[in-house]
Assembly symmetry: C3
Homo-oligomer: 133 residues x 3
């Protein structure tokens, strides 16, 4: 189930390798020990149009929304969120030094009663790579 | 009010007609009998950047988030969600056979106290196509 | 913290200046008096693929999702939302006259216990432009 949805301002593209960021965050999600590998889905959406804070032309942002199945306790969710925020701060370390960048991360829980999934990746990983689940 | 927001990995584009998928899901939303035609808004956002599960290069995903006005009971929401998930499974039937695709759907309720709308499509459909409301 | 995420159908591009809309809504968010300038992040995501209401080819939509830190009372949230909806109705005034456009706005609260931020724009604005905070 775990989704990580990155939104970011297009002016980050020359400075941050967002494909690498997706990959790094995928590994970080698995390493929390909280999320099954087969369910991890990290993606990034570039915003071409944005207007931020004082509208300085250097202003940039990245927002990470994590959507997970409900049922994990607060301590577990906080531990996972802190680990991922730490990873995000490393990814955007140079931007965070500039005074023109805002980073944020939030965890949302998905209501089990009104969500559905069909994920054959689970079965494939169970068969071929049990150690990476 | 009913929104259906599809996010999908760009590697699905050669294999799935996502414009047709939007159209199919629009019709499916209306056919649930739960949502007024004039309010149905289906859209898809392609993610060019993503990293999924075990990072196999064939891995792909589609996530459907449905956002509806609050007030419908759980049974009604579940019935609508199941109908739409069934439709989505038909749309992505071939992908679901591959072991490299993850499909998910969730319903979120929008708080009536802090949401606003202005939708003249309602008035137009009431005038010209009463039977399709 | 305050995020304003606009989704809109691509057929609005020739008719509405969405970059200007982002700028207008940024100013409007600050003018509510509810949100600190340094935290305001407005962005727009164009949906190339969509299917709306009765599927008339002129149908278009814009949806504004505002995500704010929790803790403001309902009256404050409603006041902010109404001000921003008014601004949005001005931006899309011509579209709202057509009968082929749906506008909506919702406010979501971000759980403080499971959200994190690192926003050096705050410090920069505190140093250089105290009056605009």
């Amino acid at each position: 189930m775990p989704h990580l949805i990155i939104e970011y301002s297009a002016n980050l593209d020359p400075r941050v390798d967002m494909a690498a960021a997706c990959e790094t965050l995928r590994v970080a999600m698995i390493r929390t020990g909280v999320f099954p590998c087969a369910g991890v889905r990290v993606r990034a959406h570039r915003a071409e149009l944005f207007s931020l804070a004082d509208a300085h032309s250097d202003n940039a942002f990245a927002h990470l929304q994590i959507r997970i199945g409900s049922g994990r306790d607060l301590a577990t969710r906080r531990r996972a969120g802190e680990a991922l925020m730490q990873e995000a701060q490393a990814i955007f370390a140079e931007e965070l030094l500039t005074g023109y960048f805002a980073l944020s991360l939030e965890i949302c829980e998905i209501d089990a009663a009104t969500s559905w999934k069909a994920n054959p990746i689970h079965a494939r990983l169970a068969l071929t790579e049990p150690s990476e689940k």
